[in-house]
């Protein structure tokens, strides 16, 4: 019986193997359930929109996207990555919102000679000494965006700042990125719990510290909680709020005009003026209602990069695709993107402000460019 079962499994695996020969398979991992489900939903929407724009093909080859829900849990992510590599035999594993999840699956995916493309997370270890040639980022290295904010606040002469971020890899990267270009006084540095809902105690401590400015990184639902409580505490009278990845198209529908005037840096914005972005934003709004977030834009860019890589390489061979992506030049919603030596994008960092659009919907608008063609700080440590 056991032998029969084994034979059956082997033949089943072979069927999958032959079927995948003429179609490209992409395993797309994101968070579809739980509090962060909205982020994953936006990314899934964007991937579907990208596939629509490419006519269901990637690089001219029939393509299939398998979505998996990591539930924001590293152990689940590991199991799913294993399944995508071994049982679904995908050509590319893409997506991944959270840095701690990307760290968890990085080794097993890259070592199985499968291309891993991040649509969001960009932890510093994977950009520096722990980089791998089979890993490509289509988003940013975590430090890049807060570096822009640090530079902007330094240049605009902000005298003192209070820092706050959740206690995990990305939170630490964000604050160290911020401090790279900001040399003013740091009156407080607080790490909150990941997934924290109530910030009242931290806000009380912040008020007592009396900083001229406050810099926070609170992604997803935490950003909604934070900005709400910031306003209710009348904190705007005391300190000016600067953010990264906290106020975006995911949180704005829940915040509406309470977030007006909040400043953030970002490598993308819905009003970024290039044809691919205008088409993406217009079609996304028409199809799903509401603005796409940067998560969605990066998911779209990931699919467009795969499309470009397969088209140019002529196959979905891991090394061939990697070589194309490493060379850069792919069209994205951020324009033609160039790549650094560690396969992270070199890109502009913009200053965005929350405004109301002509229909009275809260969105973000670019008000300045802080960095042009900005690479990350870790590329020099990366040797493939």
């Amino acid at each position: 019986m056991k032998r029969l079962l084994m034979a059956a499994t082997i033949s089943a695996a072979m069927v999958v193997g032959t079927a995948s020969a003429d179609t490209v398979k992409i395993g797309y991992m994101t968070t579809l359930s739980g509090g962060a489900g909205i982020i994953g939903k936006q990314m899934q929407n964007a991937v579907k929109l990208a596939m629509e724009h490419t006519g269901g093909k990637l690089g001219g080859v029939d393509a299939e996207v398998i979505f998996v829900d990591d539930q924001r849990k590293p152990d689940v992510a590991k199991q799913l990555a294993n399944r995508l590599i071994k049982s679904d035999r995908v050509d590319v594993v893409a997506g991944v919102i959270w840095s701690n999840l990307l760290m968890a699956i990085h080794k097993q995916v890259t070592r199985s000679d499968t291309l891993l493309i991040s649509s969001n997370a960009g932890p510093s270890p994977l950009a520096g000494g722990g980089c791998h040639k089979n890993f490509v980022s289509m988003s940013w290295q975590n430090d890049q965006t807060p570096e822009g904010m640090g530079k902007y606040m330094q240049d605009s002469g902000v005298s003192s700042v209070y820092l706050m971020a959740p206690n995990y890899q990305a939170g630490k990267d964000m604050l160290s990125g911020f401090k790279r270009h900001y040399t003013g006084e740091i009156v407080g540095e607080v790490y909150t719990k990941l997934g924290q809902t109530d910030f009242q105690a931290e806000l009380s401590a912040l008020r007592a510290a009396k900083p001229a400015a406050t810099f926070v990184f609170q992604p997803g639902g935490m950003g909604i909680n934070f900005v709400k409580q910031w306003n209710q505490g009348g904190m705007n009278d005391l300190s000016k709020l600067y953010t990264v990845f906290t106020v975006d198209a995911v949180s704005l529908p829940a915040l509406k005009d309470t977030a007006l005037g909040v400043i953030a840096t970002q490598t993308w914005s819905p009003d970024l003026d290039n044809p691919m972005n205008q088409k993406f934003v217009a079609d996304y709004k028409a199809k799903y209602g509401g603005y796409p977030s940067f998560y969605a834009a990066q998911a779209y860019d990931t699919m467009m990069a795969i499309d470009y890589a397969i088209g140019k390489a002529g196959s979905a061979d891991t090394e061939a695709m990697r070589a194309v992506l490493a060379g850069g030049g792919m069209p994205t919603t951020r324009g033609i993107l160039q790549m650094n030596s560690n396969q992270f994008p070199i890109q502009n960092v913009f200053l965005r402000e929350v405004v109301l659009d002509s229909d009275g919907v809260a969105t973000t608008k670019i008000i300045d460019t802080v960095f042009e063609n900005h690479g990350d700080a870790y590329a020099k440590d990366c040797k493939f």
């Binding site: 579809l32 359930s33 739980g34 509090g35 489900g37 909205i38 994953g40 939903k41 206690n167 540095e189 607080v190 790490y191 909150t192 719990k193 997934g195 809902t197 109530d198 009242q200 105690a201 931290e202 009380s204 401590a205 008020r207 007592a208 639902g221 935490m222 909604i224 909680n225 709400k228 409580q229 306003n231 209710q232 505490g233 009348g234 995911v250 949180s251 529908p253 829940a254 915040l255 509406k256 309470t258």
Partner: protein, 306 residues
């Protein structure tokens, strides 16, 4: 840290304790009196928050939305008990865990289907969004004061209900010896349904009050469930008084731990090490407290069953 800041932080702890109590009050009765393991209590918080946020959105009146949400949560608890829970009392605890864990997934998915995965907009009316000075140089959001007030009113109400009314006497009798209470003519089936619905209602009130403070999104009540279980264990199963005292203790310990521990660690550790260890230790504080209570008083501080 100045004295006023310390007082303010204790006040913050009181506020989060009051919120925890509302969730734990129902849960301690369900666990203690009915001996029923109910994991989906966080879903009642979510139902309350969604009911209030969506009714406020439709009518444009925050007070109407908040008040109308309360009977909805009572009703949802009542119907849930009637449809499912009452069939599970005779099953063992593992079956109850499985069934009510399934309920968590069910409710989250229902909310996702009905309202979408995005967080709902919910904000305060202008009349509640200001702040007042509770201490010199210490502005405090009016709404949080309302939360404390409403929570304390509920606590007094629950205390009165349990200790001064006939229904309360039945509840206490049920907590002590259910078979004897039944033999003396208490309709245990109805009593259970009432306790369950009342518990859901209190959790719902917590959800209503949480809505304007936090993101109204699927699964929003789950982080609170674990903490309220800790509260129940510290307070003693089935004891409303124990739940109140334990909730305030947990709220204050959690709040002070988050704020004070990193400062203490920084005084003798390198900053980067303290920044890493501080939040990690702070989030362990309430569990350490629970462990100590379990070692010293295994039945909790105020056990209902003698």
């Amino acid at each position: 840290m100045t004295l006023t800041l310390l007082l303010e932080q204790i006040f913050n702890g009181l506020q989060s304790g009051v919120m925890l109590f509302l969730i734990a009050a129902g849960l301690t009765l369900i666990l203690g009196v009915m001996n029923f393991v109910f994991l989906a209590h966080g879903a009642q918080v979510m139902i309350g928050a969604y009911a209030a946020a969506s009714l406020t959105g439709i009518t444009g009146n925050f007070y109407f939305g908040a008040l109308a949400a309360i009977p909805i949560t009572f009703l949802s608890g009542y119907v849930l008990e009637y449809l499912l829970i009452r069939h599970l009392y005779q099953r063992d605890h593992m079956d109850q865990v499985l069934a009510t864990f399934g309920l968590i997934l069910f409710f989250n998915e229902m909310i996702r289907i009905g309202f979408g995965p995005a967080a709902l907009f919910s904000n305060l009316p202008p009349s509640l969004s200001g702040f007042v000075y509770i201490l010199p140089d210490t502005p405090y959001p009016v709404y949080r004061l309302v939360v404390i007030g409403a929570g304390l009113v509920c606590a007094v109400g629950i205390h009165y209900l349990v200790n001064r009314t006939k229904v309360g006497a039945m509840v206490r009798a049920g907590a002590n010896n259910e078979a004897m209470a039944a033999a003396l003519g208490v309709n245990i089936g109805l009593l259970r349904r009432f306790i369950f619905a009342a518990g859901a209602c209190f959790a719902g009130i917590a959800g209503v009050m949480l809505g304007p403070l936090t993101a109204v999104e699927p699964g929003m009540g789950e982080p609170l469930l674990i903490l309220s279980l800790v509260v129940i264990i510290i307070g003693g199963l089935g004891s409303v008084r124990g739940a109140f005292i334990a909730a305030v203790i947990v709220g204050v310990v959690d709040t002070l731990g988050r704020v004070v521990l990193p400062l203490i660690l920084r005084s003798f550790m390198e900053q980067s090490a303290a920044d890493g260890a501080g939040p990690a230790l702070a989030s362990m504080m309430v569990y350490l407290l629970m462990t100590i209570v379990l070692v010293v008083k295994p039945t909790g501080l105020f056990p209902a069953k003698g």
